[in-house]
Symmetry: C2
């Protein structure tokens, strides 16, 4: 049993935290706006993999109340990255590992700068989870969390995998964190981007429009090209197979029906969007590496401008 601190208990943090609690771990949730509601009624998760109701989860209003944990599961929005260090620090001791359940490129490098002695992991969720108006968590589809280690040490990847051994979560492991990050962008960039620039549409509208579907594929191919040059620049042997990525992402998205990506929900609700983590960061990297990514550049410009009007 591990002591787990869930920092950033939005839909994703609450869902995976609840799965870890269900598996017997000692899970502590850092809550803000939902503290009172969870204190009264517990934490409700409605999931295609089985509902969870934690009647009296361990909840805290500050990270200091939680203190050092074996695992810090950081599920903050990437837009809250400026606050992440302060929020996480009280939970980080000499035995702590950090698992970043977040979107974006370069997130783990940032954690490693802040906590140089701490093993850093990525958890890349491929899942459809939204928070309902009632504060309940709705897990609609998929659910795997791909775990990877900053440094790509196989033994460390195994240790992260072991945390999830008894949890009702499928946990593939990724030998290359960087490849896994680029691969995840191959979904987030087209589908978070095109649902927002379409004015707040669901993924099925993108899939049903031949030009937007083509643009999604084009964006994936640009990201794979940039990712492969990035992997080479990092001395990694891992490579993304663009055809396989396109095939897999399209097939999975087809099966999602009318899904609302998190960034699209942020957009229609006027909240800050994860533009830097999902769009600007890969574009900067592609530009540094001189990989042409015209579609990524255009959608990044569009998201940047649309993002200025929200948040």
């Amino acid at each position: 049993m591990s002591r787990v601190a869930v920092i950033g208990a939005g839909a994703v943090g609450c869902y995976y935290g609840a799965r870890l609690a269900e598996a017997g771990h000692d899970v502590h949730f850092l809550l803000r706006s939902t503290y009172d509601a969870v204190e009264r009624g517990g934490l409700h998760v409605e999931s295609i993999d089985g509902d969870i109701h934690l009647k009296r989860p361990s909840i805290a209003r500050t990270a200091a109340e939680i203190g050092p944990a074996d695992w810090v599961v950081c599920a903050l929005k990437a837009t809250a990255m400026d606050d992440a260090r302060e929020l996480i620090a009280p939970c980080v001791g000499p035995q702590t590992s950090i698992l970043a359940l977040m979107n974006g490129l370069g997130i783990e490098d940032q954690f490693a700068q802040w906590f140089p002695e701490t093993p850093i992991f990525a958890g890349l969720g491929f899942t459809c989870i939204n928070r309902g108006a009632d504060g309940r968590i709705h897990h609609i589809d998929y659910g795997p969390v791909t775990v990877a280690h900053l440094g790509d040490e196989p033994a460390e990847v195994e240790r992260a995998f072991a945390l999830w051994a008894d949890a009702k979560v499928e946990v593939p492991t990724a030998p290359s964190l960087l490849a896994a990050r680029w691969q995840k962008l191959c979904w987030n960039v087209p589908f978070n981007g095109l649902t927002v620039t379409g004015g707040g549409i669901t993924t099925d509208i993108v899939m049903d429009d031949p030009e937007l579907r083509g643009a999604a594929e084009g964006l994936m191919r640009e990201l794979c090209a940039a990712g492969n040059v990035d992997l080479e620049a990092h001395g990694s042997d891992a490579r993304l197979d663009a055809d396989a990525v396109v095939e897999s992402m399209m097939t999975r998205t087809e099966a999602m029906a009318a899904y609302r990506p998190s960034t699209m929900i942020d957009f229609v609700e006027g909240r800050e969007m994860e533009v830097d983590a999902i769009f600007e960061a890969p574009l900067r990297r592609a530009s540094e590496l001189s990989v042409p990514t015209p579609l990524l550049a255009m959608i990044t410009g569009q998201m940047r401008i649309l993002g200025r009007r929200a948040g």
Copy 2:
């Protein structure tokens, strides 16, 4: 002096019609929603090239009241193309020529199908004209109308040029109508498109954002490439010089400051946008010609979806 029927008396039609009236032509305006206001107060144009106030312009509620004209200046929105034939027909006699002051690719071919005996011309305005809330016409910047003939007969082009001889309008002539159409798309596609997909922004925001500016240039280069293959397919010797087009469009747009393209105004006001004429038509043509236009495809898909929500 020519007898001129202005069909589609929006901002552009009223402005150029007023300039022709000012030059001494017998101009008749087909009006609908603004008939009563113009009957009461006349037609007011505020223009950087000198204001015009036509106290008692010749106005009509139906084209039949106007009857056959020497010139039909058709300034309908391209979205009204389905009604154009019926609206224009009463003004077309054996001596009539049609000048299409409209956006879009293939507009003149459509007119030629409907009126096979009638000389057809394009008037491609590069201008910033909006209608004010008070029904007044505001001519803010630029104003040239490039005239071209469907068939590219130099003598015919001269005849269209002669109509404007005494008007305070700069009238360049284009030896190739098709080249002029593609060149105009090089402004409309990026600037009408990116101001809409940016959520209803002005042209200066596009110009100031490095990625959107780059996307504008990328779109122009795709359009020039498609246009040149189209010209070749039509057996025309005319070609677009992409570098020169980019340079010219960027310089002119830079000088416009915060301009609101017509499609962007349609978008923010919830009116139907000219998606087919400006986006779908060149994309279809590029696709027929197998010219890759990934940026054009993406923005066309975006505009198509955004257009479904308006209108």
